[in-house]
């Protein structure tokens, strides 16, 4: 047979459970705008029934656990898309600085200097002894050399700016790694306890997402709840409660900071995240552009020089080098040709326009004109080589930003999906609140009814007993 006090304790369990449920709901509402927060749900469970005189009677309700709503697969996909998007965005913004150096679309860039140089020579052909025209050839040569100098040094500036970003990003990565390690430790210690590590796991997910913004990484969740994080295809960053710091050290030849993990240089293996994007700009795009610029400069220097040497200057002497001849430091590499390009002659009379030593001959200027029209570099004319170079820069940027936009859309969708699993809807929480409030009121009503019944028992049955 059931008892009044049995009912009282059942009602009490309901009141307690509803209080807990309201608490969870309140926490959800409080964190409605917390980034990375996973919505929590109280899992109510019927208490074990009690056998009273052969009757199995329910004994109320308990909150078995508070569950965080999370889709781990979604989180992983979101992290991997974030790595890609962040890498592309960083790449695009780095390359946009490069783009500005060669922005032919707005009239900046080298092509006007190249065109101006050949124009000045053609102008000279109409009046080869004119000192003003000769001076403008010298000036145009200077402008061309300075154009190459400044393009080359601007590239170097972008490169060293990117290098500084790399160092800062590595510091941020180390910082996040320490946070993950410490969260790992707390999560492991709470694993299996009634409190559960839900909030901490959500926090760690958020830090992992921040990490994905910075660098491509792979994560493995262990049975104790901790995650192991590695970068660059296997270099450890976090294992359990331990963070392995990455270090940077400048390369003695290039001056660019290399990234080390446990003593091993992992720079070239790093992909993804803003670090991946920065490294791609710093170690691949800029060196390759610098090389193209050097090759173009070296080719112009040697061809213009040999054109000048084929003719005679205004004094009737055999022509000399026009630009300072470039001597490669190592064979097969024109490194430094663009940055060191300069005029070998400053005297206008030394422009070798004449083909026979007479002052009125402009026959040798044909050799200069041929430098412009002949395929002098990689089977192309200087103009088309340069046109392709700027075209390639533009194409790299536009295709990377298209991919970044696409990745952004995927991320938006994943975030929508994620928030439909983990996100807090105030409407839903409000409805839950009403539900738990009503349940609480009902249980309180039961308590009050039992109170009345008990009162009734005590008053009436007690009075009967005392009256007897």
């Amino acid at each position: 047979m059931g008892t009044l006090f049995g009912s009282l304790s059942t009602a009490l369990s309901a009141i307690q459970a509803d209080q807990t449920a309201v608490q969870v709901t309140t926490n959800n509402i409080a964190n409605a705008n917390t980034k990375g927060y996973d919505r929590q749900v109280p899992l109510l469970e019927e208490s074990s029934p009690v056998d009273i005189d052969g009757l199995l009677l329910g004994s109320g309700v308990t909150v078995a656990s508070v569950q965080s709503m999370r889709d781990n697969v979604l989180n992983l996909r979101l992290n991997s898309e974030t790595q890609q998007q962040s890498s592309l965005n960083t790449y695009v913004s780095g390359m946009q600085q490069v783009e500005a150096i060669f922005n032919e679309a707005s009239g900046a860039g080298l092509s006007s200097a190249i065109d101006g140089f050949f124009s000045s020579l053609q102008a000279l052909s109409a009046n080869p002894s004119d000192s003003t025209l000769r001076q403008s050839v010298i000036n145009a040569g200077n402008t061309l050399a300075e154009g190459f100098n400044s393009a080359s040094s601007a590239l170097q500036q972008v490169q060293s700016g990117t290098d500084q970003d790399v160092v800062q990003t590595v510091q941020q990565i180390n910082n996040l790694a320490s946070q993950i390690a410490s969260l790992n430790q707390q999560i492991t210690s709470l694993q299996g306890t009634s409190e559960g590590p839900g909030d901490l796991v959500a926090q760690r997910d958020e830090v992992l997402n921040q990490l994905s913004n910075l660098v491509g990484n792979a994560t493995v969740t262990a049975s104790d709840g901790s995650v192991t994080v590695s970068v660059a295809g296997g270099a450890p960053l976090v294992a359990g409660d331990q963070a392995f710091q990455l270090t940077t050290q400048a390369d003695p030849t290039t001056g660019m900071n290399q990234i080390y993990s446990q003593g091993a240089n992992i720079t070239s293996a790093i992909t993804g995240g803003s670090l991946g994007g920065d490294l791609q700009v710093r170690d691949q795009e800029i060196p390759s552009l610098q090389q193209s610029l050097d090759n173009l400069a070296a080719s112009l220097i040697s061809n213009v020089n040999s054109a000048n040497k084929q003719g005679y200057d205004l004094n009737g002497d055999k022509g000399k080098a026009f630009f300072t001849p470039f001597t490669p430091s190592s064979s097969g590499s024109n490194q430094g040709a663009a940055s060191s390009m300069s005029m070998a002659i400053t005297d206008p009379s030394l422009v070798a326009a004449s083909s026979d030593g007479t002052v009125g001959s402009s026959g040798n200027l044909q050799n200069f004109a041929n430098v412009q029209t002949n395929a002098i570099i990689s089977g192309q004319t200087a103009d088309s080589y340069y046109a392709n170079l700027v075209g390639d820069i533009g194409t790299s940027i536009s295709s990377a930003s298209a991919s970044a936009t696409a990745a952004g859309l995927v991320i938006q969708q994943l975030q929508n999906q994620q928030s439909s699993v983990s996100g807090v809807s105030l409407d839903e929480e409000a409805a839950n609140l009403m539900k738990y409030q009503q349940a609480y009121e009902a249980a309180a009503e039961v308590v009050s009814a039992i109170n009345n019944l008990t009162d009734f028992c005590v008053q009436n049955m007690g009075a009967q007993a005392s009256g007897a």
Binding site: A32, N33, R39, M95, Q96, F102, N103, E104, A105, S106, G109, S111, S112, D115, G116, F118, S119, Q122, A123, S125, A126, N127, P128, S129, D130, D356, T358, V359, G360, S361, G363, L365, Q366, A369, D383, A387, N388, V390, G391, I393, G394, T395, S396, I397, S398, Q412, Q415, N416, S419, S420, G423, V424, S425, L426, D427, E428, A430, A431, L433, M434
Partner: protein, 297 residues
């Protein structure tokens, strides 16, 4: 499972506003610059074309300038040679006059003096300069080509050279722009100065004046043939100029087509974007009012 509309809508609206503002910026930039693109990455292929187009345009502009410079020099050369023709015609008339057997010695002397004067005039014309350069010195343009020389039978020595110069007026197209002084004035057997001197000598010595004049006539004919070079070159330059001007126009219009923006389209795009942006702002203003919590009392 709850669809958390609140946070999502904000994000979606923000992304929408971002995109729309970016579009609006691009349109504004296009309107103000009149160019379809202001960065390489907006249209890499077009920018590559633009670089080549500009290189070509720069060449064509220079060819056109060269043509103009050459025209000035060639016109001066042509008119100088015209003056020489007039002078030689005068000399020939004087020769006919001097061949008249009834003339006295002093009359012939007077005519000889006039012919000498003409010879001096022709010498001066042959030393004409343009912008400091001698027109008839071959490529030795800073050396005075014709000087008086009493040791020479013609009384004149050529100090220039026999070279001619060519100037580029098109891609791979070079045009010879002068004749050397020795080709024009002193080809062997048709030396202008020798012929004039011959006439003077005949007049002074009462020699074969008619024969000397016939010789001068032959030299004159030869000279006239030579000088057509300048007229022909000028007319070739004229047609080159027409062609280059046309090419310049084509290149300019190609450039406009590559980079010029279509204002009507841009402005209508801009209007559309602005309308969409307005609507998005209004929608964003409505979001905060929608929560069940507002109805809980």
């Amino acid at each position: 499972m709850g669809v958390s509309l609140n946070t999502d809508l904000y994000q979606t609206v923000m992304q929408g506003i971002d995109t729309l503002q970016q579009n609006e910026n691009n349109d504004l930039q296009e309107m103000s610059s009149g160019k379809q693109f202001n960065n390489l990455s907006e249209d890499p292929v077009a920018v590559s074309q633009l670089v080549l187009n500009e290189a070509q345009a720069s060449n064509v502009n220079q060819y056109l300038q060269n043509v103009t410079t050459l025209q000035n020099g060639l016109q001066l050369a042509d008119s100088t040679l015209n003056s020489v023709v007039t002078a030689l015609s005068q000399a020939m008339s004087l020769g006919v006059e001097g061949a008249n057997g009834t003339l006295s010695d002093s009359d012939r002397q007077a005519i000889a003096t006039q012919v000498s004067g003409i010879a001096a005039q022709v010498l001066s014309l042959a030393n004409t300069t343009y912008e400091g350069n001698y027109l008839f010195a071959g490529t030795a343009v800073t050396t005075q080509p014709f000087t008086q020389d009493s040791t020479s039978p013609s009384g004149v020595t050529y100090k220039g050279n026999g070279s001619t110069n060519s100037v580029q007026i098109g891609d791979g197209e070079y045009i010879p722009v002068n004749l050397s002084g020795s080709q024009v004035f002193t080809p062997s057997g048709s030396d202008v100065f020798a012929a004039l001197q011959g006439l003077v000598n005949a007049l002074q010595t009462n020699g074969d004046v008619a024969g000397a004049n016939t010789q001068l006539q032959q030299v004159f004919n030869r000279f006239n043939t030579q000088r057509t070079f300048y007229g022909a070159t000028l007319s070739r330059l004229q047609s080159t100029q027409d062609y280059l001007t046309q090419e310049q126009e084509q290149l300019t219009s190609a450039q406009d087509q590559i980079e010029g923006s279509d204002m009507a389209t841009v402005i209508s795009n801009y209007d559309q974007t602005e309308t969409a942006l307005d609507a998005t702002y209004q929608a964003a203003g409505l979001i905060p009012h929608m929560s069940l919590l507002d109805y809980l009392h």
